[in-house]
């Protein structure tokens, strides 16, 4: 019986979830020092009191007996995927002294030899660790999502077209959502719980959801219509839609294209802008005067979008005309042969999309008359995670741009592209603006500088090739390739140490054998919650505090707020003191800064990167605690009265978003490209640099207009390898980081797709496979075979099998996740190599041809 007399404490503490990058607001119930329940915080406009299964299960992550509780060092010098490190307990002092000594040596020698690896579930710690890495002097970092999670090329277009890391359909006004294989608003992607509610409301309001996806996924199953498609062919579908819109229906938003894109810019025979000889800026054709004029000349009342013109003896056409002509051959009939989607379906969807865009209509919001374009196209890793990522994403994005549905009511919205700041302080503030050639430059970008204007192409300085290929917006698929053989890429050093903040990179990129070879000779210091597969390569492991045990300076980031409604800034604070010897990574970083005598440099960079203002800047004459730095961060943003103590008490600060923040495009003079002219010039430079440095790179995808190009898997038709294997995100798990959670395991045990492998019913019948049978799945690319139980369904393309999440663990230290039958590690099927990477965006391809056969019982 419950003893009331023993009850000494019963509190609810506001904080934020850290189990994915959505940053849902929490209220955590603590009784007598023990967390007994986690609920959504109804005070926050972000998730409005709701949580996903992961959020609720966080309590089990806190108290999981598999958690690392003490510092460890390995005793087995041999490193390998299955080589037990032979952990022995050491003191924190020994751990930090060992790490500091190694860091000191590397910094003296060549700081570039340090690599920082992180992941999204350490989203609050990684930004601070990045500052540490910058102060240290290394350019080398890698988020483990680079393989099967990161949007990569999608983020690039987020920057170029939406001034944002990511995008969402306008949940308040969208009426037609065309969803190319993403769970945005349904189960994963950004703001998952928040957008799931709002998309649910939009569906009740009447928004139609059409899902184009090889698999009737957790999001596609909630659609009005599911259209199965061959993986990696979304661009062909999109290009055929563009063809129908422009050539058959004549549907496009001319006013938007004229005033908000580079559609009117004149393109010469060489595919480049015609430029004003004096100002150097692109020319447009003024149909009123019948002359070419700089795009930004005063008094222009109209812009030609079509036609061919003679400009000083050169023939030129507007960019829009070039795009339209380019699309001529890409009919629905052409796309049908590639996608397997009937031409009539593509034509119908294009018509629905074009009509629902309601071009010419307006809406009045907050007294302002704005364009009303209630259609949106969403996609993420599914459609873009292919060899043809750059050009595929371009085709998908152009659907939104052609009908003028970009960052206007009803359309596709950047996730907080424009912030005018809190009413009291005008901070944080970022505004998209016009840059080179009048094209839009993001006001804020998480990894500065933003992709446009592009950095100059230079020889490889880092092991991710980003200095040579500046169109890669985030984590690079080239990193493990270059890291394994830096000499081949003329990188003049080898990585000697990995500063490893929670990323299970072995299971989140591609072929674990190849990744293991790359990392096995590197000294690795890990801040770990669990002894996962990547810690098998660690020399030192220190116990990290989980999100429920630590304070954060940046719980919120650009893509953690819903794009509409209210701004919300939260606190992430410890709801219990760190258990056992666990410590906050950020606190440990500050201690390392002192040990390395880096305080002056580190504080200077903290001041710049966190944009701390006086009087909250860090003075290197003083040593600041983590609490004080967080306190200064909050005060610098929101004023003296709203420091850390205010946030600890209130949990969330919110205020309404302005119309000009949410729907910023009509208020901006910045144009966006529908003809990516600078890709062409950049590609020429990349090609030249590659040749000069002796690197064999296929730069042919640096093109100004979209194309569909086959992936490796479309061309690998060896005998018996007749199916495509794809990976998809599953709402019950976050990447590889949550599989050891027993509550989530329970949920997954009753959902047959969670650990099973989806296979089409007719395909399964043909192969003699029944529901629940073990299957052997062999990759044509790696030769590896994985085992998974068949989840037979009509809801998958007959040429496809689908694997959820990042299961199939094998670390002996994960008592739940590493049991037989807890999912499949997709990475065994995927090769590592530049021939499997989209060069302009450095995106890792994610579809592979496999052979599937019934296996014996496990």
């Amino acid at each position: 019986m419950f003893d009331v007399a023993r009850l000494q404490e019963d509190v609810w503490i506001p904080t934020t979830c850290g189990l994915c990058y959505s940053v849902c607001a929490l209220k955590v119930h603590r009784v007598n020092g023990t967390v007994v329940k986690i609920e959504g915080n109804p005070d926050s406009a972000t998730n409005r009191g709701r949580l996903c299964p992961r959020g609720v299960s966080g309590i089990m992550a806190l108290y999981n007996p598999d958690r690392v509780d003490v510092p460890l060092k390995r005793t087995n010098p041999e490193k390998g995927l299955h080589a037990d490190p032979g952990w022995v307990e050491i003191t924190w002092e020994e751990a930090l002294e060992t790490i500091a000594a190694r860091l000191n040596k590397i910094r003296e020698d060549d700081p570039r030899k340090l690599l920082l690896t992180g992941t999204v579930t350490t989203q609050d710690e990684v930004p601070f660790a990045k500052i540490f890495a910058m102060a240290f002097g290394t350019p080398n970092g890698w988020n483990s999502g680079a393989g099967n999670h990161c949007g990569t090329a999608e983020h690039l277009y987020g920057a170029l077209l939406h001034a944002s890391w990511s995008k969402q359909p306008d949940p308040d006004h969208c009426r037609y959502l065309l969803n190319f294989g993403t769970a945005s608003g349904f189960g994963s992607y950004y703001c998952v719980t928040a957008m799931a509610q709002r998309i649910g409301e939009a569906r009740v309001r009447g928004m139609r959801h059409v899902a184009i996806d090889p698999f009737l996924s957790p999001s596609a199953e909630k659609a009005d219509e599911w259209i199965p498609i061959v993986p990696g062919t979304d661009a062909a579908f999109a290009m055929a839609m563009l063809h129908v819109l422009l050539h058959e229906l004549n549907i496009y938003d001319a006013e938007y294209l004229k005033h908000h894109t580079n559609g009117p810019y004149l393109i010469g025979a060489d595919g480049l802008y015609l430029r004003d000889p004096l100002k150097g800026v692109p020319l447009i054709w003024n149909p009123v005067l019948g002359t070419a004029t700089p795009f930004d000349a005063p008094g222009i009342t109209d812009f030609a979008l079509e036609g061919e013109f003679n400009v000083n003896g050169s023939r030129a056409r507007p960019a829009f005309a070039c795009l339209k002509e380019h699309l001529t051959p890409f009919t629905p009939e052409w796309a049908e042969t590639i996608t397997t989607v009937p031409a009539a379906t593509i034509r119908r969807v294009a018509q629905e999309f074009g009509q629902e865009a309601r071009i010419g209509s307006t809406i009045v919001l907050d007294g302002k008359t704005l364009p009303y374009r209630p259609v949106a196209v969403t996609y993420f890793k599914g459609a873009q995670g292919h060899k043809n990522a750059l050009l595929s994403c371009m085709a998908l994005e152009l659907l939104t741009e052609i009908v003028g549905a970009s960052n206007v009511p009803g359309g596709l919205l950047g996730m907080n592209s424009c912030s005018l700041g809190h009413p009291d302080t005008d901070r944080p503030k970022w505004i998209p603006h016009a840059g080179r050639d009048g094209l839009m430059v993001s006001g804020y970008w998480p990894n500065p500088p933003p992709p446009y204007p592009p950095k100059e192409v230079k020889k490889p300085e880092s092991i991710d090739l980003r200095s040579m290929i500046p169109t890669c917006p985030g984590s690079s698929g080239a990193l493990p390739v270059v890291m394994a053989d830096p000499e081949r890429f003329k990188v003049p050093y080898k990585i000697e140490m990995n500063f490893h903040v929670g990323a299970n990179y072995v299971m989140t990129f591609a072929d674990p054998n190849a990744i293991a070879e790359t990392f096995k000779d590197v000294f690795q210091a890990s801040f770990a919650l669990f002894l996962d597969e990547s810690t098998y390569f660690s020399d030192i492991v220190v116990p990290a505090a989980s999100y429920l045990e630590r304070l954060s300076h940046t719980a919120d980031w650009m893509s953690s707020n819903v794009p509409v409604g209210e701004w919300c800034y939260h606190v992430r604070q410890p709801v219990v003191a760190p258990i056992a010897q666990r410590r906050s990574v950020c606190e440990v970083l500050l201690e390392l800064v002192e040990r390395l005598k880096m305080r002056e440099e580190f504080y200077a960079l903290v001041n710049v990167v966190l944009n701390l203002t006086d009087p909250y800047r860090l003075d290197p004459g003083q040593c600041f605690s983590w609490e004080e730095i967080v306190n200064r961060r909050y005060k610098s943003l929101f004023g003296e009265a709203r420091g850390l103590e205010w946030f600890k008490e209130h949990g969330v600060l919110k205020w309404p978003k302005k119309v000009e923040e949410v729907y910023w495009k009509p208020f901006s003079h910045a144009r966006v490209p529908i003809y990516f002219e600078w890709f062409k010039t950049l590609g020429t430079k990349v090609e030249g640099m590659a040749q000069n440095t002796g690197i064999d790179l296929d730069t042919s995808a640096f093109q100004p207009l979209p194309e569909w190009r086959p992936c490796r898997s479309h061309k690998e038709n060896s005998d018996g390898f007749d199916l495509y294997a794809i990976y998809y995100k599953f709402p019950m798990q976050t990447f590889s980081g949550t599989y050891d959670n027993p509550w989530l395991d329970e949920v997954c045990n009753i959902e047959r797709f969670a650990y099973g492998v989806a296979i089409n019913a007719e395909t399964a019948r043909r192969k003699g496979i029944a529901e629940g049978d073990w299957m052997e799945i062999t990759s044509v690319s790696t030769g590896h075979t994985v085992r998974g139980r068949a989840a037979v369904t009509e809801g998958i393309h007959p040429e496809v099998i689908a694997i959820a999440g990042c299961g199939g663990h094998w670390s002996k230290y994960l008592s739940v996740a590493s049991q037989e039958g807890k999912g499949v590690c997709f990475e065994w099927l995927m090769p590592v190599g530049l021939d499997n990477v989209d060069i302009p965006s450095l995106t890792q391809d994610l579809c592979v041809k496999v052979k599937v056969a019934k296996a014996g019982a496990a």
Binding site: F136, H155, G474
Partner: protein, 96 residues
Amino acid sequence: MRVEVRFYGFVRDVITNTAFSLEMPAGSNLRDLLSESIKNSSERLRDRLFTSSGDLEANVQIFVGATQSTSLEEAVADGLESSDVRIFVLSATAGG
């Protein structure tokens, strides 16, 4: 005029001393200062700071005192006997 120069971030591989003093003629601007810094340290620093056309790389931020500069043509200091210039070379480690 005495200028205290300090470099931060992704520069330690191209310069040995990240902090030094320079004597600059009155009226010097930031471009002059960076050129002098390159002369004083390493030509490799030029490639880290500038594009081939002489523009500042987008990941480089310069502060004169506490104020961020927006142009290389800005004066190192206005009418002061000494100045404090800090140059940050940011690196975009990792992604999303």
